[in-house]
């Protein structure tokens, strides 16, 4: 955060006099102000000969601090933003859309957990195809296990566009495929890289007024997080929390749907439960648990957590070959 010295060029009231007053009390930057009790500082300033100027300077810093937090929103503004920007996107799979009352909501992070071969990647690919085709939206697909398949996407696209087994026009197919960007990523730091690049790109696009990104998929986020979650120590968890914080920020600010997948571990009595531990549980908006009977193409999904739907509901769906 900015030091008081740097702020002086913009706000001359923060003169060297005030800076030395602050330095005596161990305050050099705006961040030092934040972790200080301001009232005792104000009381101190009142004792000084040039108290009036110091008070002005403290108010100036408070004004700077006021710009550091997100704006306070009124309930009515929130409602309008939700109606205008936070729609649901269909996943292309009826059972899931029914369970989630229409699909994945923009601005929310959805976790899809399940044991291996329970349909997580298939669901991700289907959702990517649906969003790219139906909403003409850009999809950012972060692939951590080399499981992204362009062929499978093309097949899904053919199914969605014309069920009567007619081939899609190559030109249209190419256009839709172009809007799905796959980033192979093998560690959490490269994921941060990709997301930060995306953030600055989105910021630039918002300025120009053409924001067409709709969906971020991370398949699977658990394979990036598990290696850094040691048995003890907080570094790994801190990275996990800040990654999710960044995803939630992107989702909310740019009205994106974020879909991440998680693997499962054996819980009490051998029943599979989502991995990544208790500190993960509080992070996603929506948590879904997938399972599949061996050999069939019917998938079962149950709702573990949702901001507005009772947890425990379940549904079945089919993903065609």
């Amino acid at each position: 955060m900015a030091s008081l010295k740097r702020l002086e060029t913009e706000f001359p009231i923060l003169d060297p006099d005030f800076q030395s007053f602050c330095a005596l009390r161990g305050i050099f930057t705006v961040q030092d102000f934040l972790i200080r009790d301001l009232q005792s500082l104000v009381a101190d300033a009142e004792q000084q000969p040039s108290s009036e100027r110091f008070m002005q300077a403290i108010n100036q810093v408070l004004y700077v601090i006021d710009g550091l937090h997100q704006p306070w929103l009124n309930g009515v503004d929130l409602m309008e933003d939700a109606q205008k920007n936070k729609h649901v996107l269909s996943t292309g799979c009826e059972g899931m859309d029914f369970l989630l009352r229409g699909g994945l909501r923009r601005g929310q992070v959805t976790e899809l957990a399940g044991p291996s071969s329970s349909g997580k990647t298939q669901f991700c690919l289907l959702t990517a195809s649906t969003v790219a085709y139906k909403y003409m939206g850009g999809v950012i697909y972060i692939d951590t296990g080399n499981s992204f398949s362009a062929k499978r996407i093309a097949r899904f696209l053919n199914q969605i566009s014309c069920p009567a087994s007619e081939e899609m026009q190559p030109r249209v197919l190419q256009e839709v495929m172009n809007s799905i960007l796959c980033h192979p990523v093998y560690d959490i730091f490269s994921m941060f890289d990709v997301l930060h690049c995306l953030e600055s790109k989105l910021k630039y696009q918002i300025c120009r007024g053409d924001n067409d990104e709709r969906l971020i998929i991370i398949d699977s986020i658990s394979s990036l997080i598990t290696p850094i979650l040691g048995s003890s120590g907080s570094q790994g968890r801190a990275l996990m929390v800040s990654a999710m914080s960044l995803l939630k920020k992107l989702a909310h600010e740019y009205n994106l749907v974020v879909l991440v997948t998680n693997h499962t571990v054996g819980g009490d009595g051998g029943i599979p439960k989502p991995a990544l531990g208790v500190s993960w549980k509080t992070l996603p908006h929506v948590r879904l648990l997938l399972s599949r009977d061996c050999g069939s193409n019917t998938y079962q999904v149950s709702l573990l957590k949702h901001p507005s739907i009772a947890s425990g509901k379940a549904a079945k769906f089919i993903i065609n070959d």
Binding site: L62, A238, S279
Partner: protein
């Protein structure tokens, strides 16, 4: 002599009787009637309530339910809505708040009063109530501190412009930055009296700022705290064994049976001494059938830990809100 004696006498006499003081306190800080399960204990401005529990245990739902009864007007156009007509400040640290859920619950409450006839009145009441709801999201501790530091000025300005008093401050959830702050503790630089950013310091300042805010603007603070520290087998056993409560043998054996792995406290003592009331919520295995439908609702159990009440409340969350079932 007489002057000094008079001063001494007036000092001995005291300013007011206990009865007067009680009357004054009740008039200036009336206890707020909050929805179940927070209704068991009279809560008033100046209290800090902590709703603790694992995820998911309907903590945010309880906050939203409380917000609904707070922002609804008491009565309007001769209809009794039963709200408090206070404003709510919602500080979202988890960034998971869904405004459509708040609107859904509000609509249910309004429809209950107005009957099924949907009128333009409904929308008006909804807007009126929603205007009392203020929301901020914070992505890290610095944003939280910045918001708290400038909240006083904001409330002063609000008071001047429309005379709104009586606030309810909600924080969801206080442990959100625990891991990040714990990991990002910086080395103390630049002199002894320079405070550095650390978990301990951040929470000290949060508590200090909240205290200042509450003394300037009397308000009730409700905070959720999620379980984010896992219990290993050892902790589980260590905490599970509790000393038997002396004397009273009513529901405590039942309490003991229902007690899930008791979760570990991770907030520093400064925070714990700031909290005046604590309620523990958790999911239970029971499912309560809903009347007129086949759907089952998961039942949640709430238990007052501070002050300790020796009974449990069971509640379910439905579309219309939170309901007690026992």
């Amino acid at each position: 002599m007489s002057e000094a004696a008079a001063a001494a006498k007036s000092w001995i006499n005291g300013d007011e009787s206990a009865r007067q003081m009680l009357g004054r306190a009740q008039a200036s800080r009336p206890s707020l009637s909050l929805p179940a399960p927070l209704h068991r204990i009279p809560l008033r401005a100046g209290n800090v309530v902590e709703i603790a529990g694992p995820s998911p245990s309907a903590k945010t739902q309880l906050l939203i339910q409380t917000a609904v009864s707070c922002i609804l007007p008491k009565e309007r156009n001769g209809l009794h809505y039963g709200g408090l007509g206070h404003s709510v400040l919602f500080v979202d640290l988890d960034c998971r708040f869904d405004v459509s859920r708040l609107v859904e619950m509000l609509r249910h409450r309004i429809a209950q009063v107005n009957g099924c006839s949907c009128t333009a009145d409904d929308e008006e009441i909804l807007k009126l109530s929603m205007r009392r709801f203020s929301y901020i999201r914070c992505y890290d501790s610095c944003e939280l501190l910045a918001a708290l530091k400038t909240l006083h000025h904001r409330l002063e300005k609000e008071k001047e412009s429309n005379g709104i008093g009586g606030h309810l401050l909600m924080i969801d959830s206080i442990g959100a930055f625990h891991w990040v702050d714990r990991a990002s503790t910086s080395l103390p630089l630049g002199g002894k009296n320079r405070k550095y950013l650390s978990l301990q310091n951040v929470l000290e300042v949060v508590v200090e700022d909240l205290r200042k805010l509450m003394s300037a603007h009397p308000m009730l603070v409700i905070v959720t705290k999620a379980t984010i520290v896992g219990t290993t087998g050892n902790d589980f056993r260590r905490n599970y064994k509790r000393w038997p409560s002396t004397g009273t043998f009513d529901a405590s054996s039942e309490l003991e049976g229902l007690r899930e792995p008791y979760f570990r406290e991770y907030m520093p003592p400064i925070w714990q001494s700031f909290v005046t009331h604590r309620i523990l919520v958790r999911g239970s295995d029971d499912h309560i059938a809903m009347p007129k439908s086949q759907e089952n609702n998961t039942a949640y159990v709430s238990e007052w830990l501070l002050p300790r009440l020796n009974f449990l409340d069971k509640f379910v969350v439905r579309n219309a809100g939170v309901f007690l079932v026992s």
